[in-house]
Symmetry: C2
Subunit: 467 residues, 2 copies
Amino acid sequence: MLDQNKLQQLDRMFHPKTVAIIGATKEPDRVGFSILSSLIKGGYPGKIFPIHPRHKEILGIPVLPNLEATGGTVDLVVIALNEKATVGILEECGRYNVAGAICVAGGFKEIGHEGVDLQEQMVEVANRSNILLLGPNTLGMINAKARLNATFWPIDLRVDGTISIVSQSGGIGQVIGFKTYQEGLNFNKWIGVGNHAMLDFDDLIQYLGEDQSTEAIGVFLEGTDNARSFIEIAGHYAYRKPVVVLKAGQSTLAQTCTLTHTGSMAGPYQIYEDVFRQFGLLSVNSPLEFVSVLKAVTLAPPLLGNGVAIITPSAGPSILLVDKLELSGANFVPFREETYQRIKHLFVDVPVILKNPLDAASAGYSADSYLQLVEGIIQDPGVDQLIAITIEHAYRRFPARDLVAIKEKYGKPILVYYIGSEHINEVQHLCHSGGIPLFASIEETAWGATGLIRHLRIREEFNPNAV
Amino acid sequence: MLDQNKLQQLDRMFHPKTVAIIGATKEPDRVGFSILSSLIKGGYPGKIFPIHPRHKEILGIPVLPNLEATGGTVDLVVIALNEKATVGILEECGRYNVAGAICVAGGFKEIGHEGVDLQEQMVEVANRSNILLLGPNTLGMINAKARLNATFWPIDLRVDGTISIVSQSGGIGQVIGFKTYQEGLNFNKWIGVGNHAMLDFDDLIQYLGEDQSTEAIGVFLEGTDNARSFIEIAGHYAYRKPVVVLKAGQSTLAQTCTLTHTGSMAGPYQIYEDVFRQFGLLSVNSPLEFVSVLKAVTLAPPLLGNGVAIITPSAGPSILLVDKLELSGANFVPFREETYQRIKHLFVDVPVILKNPLDAASAGYSADSYLQLVEGIIQDPGVDQLIAITIEHAYRRFPARDLVAIKEKYGKPILVYYIGSEHINEVQHLCHSGGIPLFASIEETAWGATGLIRHLRIREEFNPNAV
């Protein structure tokens, strides 16, 4: 937990006017090159100071020999040196009003005794120098809105994301980041906490909880000694901002692995799961589920009940969806009589049984009847969210814009499960822009719809203003 | 079960020299247009007879008024008429030595009493006329090697697939088909059994079991009265050709839905699962798992034991993989002393703990050290399959060709878990061409690796020639 001063200092670290990279280098295989490249590629508008004792220029940017040569305040320092040199340079940073330092080197707590001592020494220096320390053993952090990519992951930044990620593992953070991008979504902030020697989950969740541009928080956790503080602060925000948590360490071997990864004991998985639920966090079991839930809760309008309707041009996919959804508390209400009256004219001479889920057969293919079905069914008072399944076909276009208009008119979540490949990106973009999450698999659709229901329960249970 | 005559007749149906489409039409919204379009787009080299009482030509192909006008034998007839007309035309087909008929219309057993009678009548006609009947209520079937797309799903055909699919639902068949394509894989035969009024799962599994060009069989099942016969015949082939089965109907509502879909009771899910296992079938829980297992078993060389090694540039993804794999019987053996000797020179001055899974940190990024690690580890006698994790990076290329060469040299399965997006298709193509399955998510990697272990057990348990 951070006090107001520290929160402001952390905000300066995330919105730096100047960034120094200590250990910048010309060798493309090295971390110090990738970090500089990330800053440039990301379009960082502030001042960049690559620091190296001998180089004059890297990637077109003048290199300084040391921090002193920057001539003034440096808001953020990225240290791309080995573990021993990292601690030394941190001492020097203290003299230049540095708000925060990212230490990427490994070789600390995660390797055992010697590393533990070095890490303690580093934290002591950072505390004494009033520097907020991210890492060590971290990929770095990204603030997409500030066009700040301070990681050694040189990706293009997209600026309108509302999902922020806190990951104990850089690799899992990348898994989640790549998948988020593939889904046409963007993240807002992406933070690799690594060994979380100083800045810990609780601090960063607190920061993101207060951050206006973050609408949902995703956390990948291996383990932390401050689990209680993390869960309490996450629970404090969870009914307003969904907090999705993926926890490693279900198996015995995995628990051993986390110790040598970021120096944390994973802890008994089931206990974590139970506590997450008690505090209103959305616990998930895999990265695909993680992104599906974040997608649903950030794109769709708030859900108001657990009634689910499905319309589909082919029964099979709806049957597998029902299998996955019914086990998670979705309620497949029979439609009201007036709903049947609204849609029955679409099935004259079509041998179809009208029920929920509705296998609309050929009426589920043509855009016109498909839209009439969606509008006819979404008005049903028992239907709180509608899953519209569609199968790509060479001679038909999916009516994404009209579907968005219906969603706007009735204000209930519509989720699309799109079976196909050729036009999916274009249709997904139209749907996502209009607040309709589109999924490409049954598994992800089920996770998304279930995520909405789970977050509804959390809002009902934890919101002090709920009626 | 089919006798030799019927098997040969079925083979004629799958390799027709002539195809008639009864109910071909010019309206692009209708099934009779899509089927003709599928045949043309698929590149079918045989003779196509669109049949319609008034049209003269559709899509550039001359139309005949009736079957008689074909002037001789028709091997395959696709009937795109409504349910009542379908039965009538089947009677007529009997006079032209038709090997098989695909009946796409719904309105039979799946809609209740009236439909049940009509379906019985249709089967009686087909039996009397010696016609093999596929459907009714089916999307049709594809034989990619014969360039025959006799479905109303006009996709491009790819001809070198080894996976054949039998699906009770056209929609799930398409889910699986699209995903197979997206994975850069192709299918060999794709068969929608629909209401399986005559040609049932057992017949088609028997045919595919004997089919030299099919190396693995995937089945989506809702339910069948002939479950015993299906499972016995599938079990007969399962140790030679992996048979992957996805069964719908875990939830109560889903069981009701299957009845109104293809007229079959789903039956208690757990009983099916147990019986599948007893007979050596690979039961899966979702379409993504279905395709992942088929991909692994068809691309990788045969597995010889349950020892798994993982190498990764970042520990997090390997920890989640271990979580999923350890629960399924994978054995993460410690490496032998000589293995450590082979690789330790790659970690001079790199603070890494040598163990399995191996978090190789920076040595897991450069192609050169990555390949040395793979070759050093795969020689370990305790390692039966190796999962190589890689993270896409702007300044590094994944050494797919060299990895294939190592796999060829040692003959053990290598699976790649590729974290990234930009170059995945190109890398996947190189890997798949060389017998290395590449997966894009932790979930799919785990399913693939587990599938290999499960099929190893089946080979050991059911192969009468196993030593």
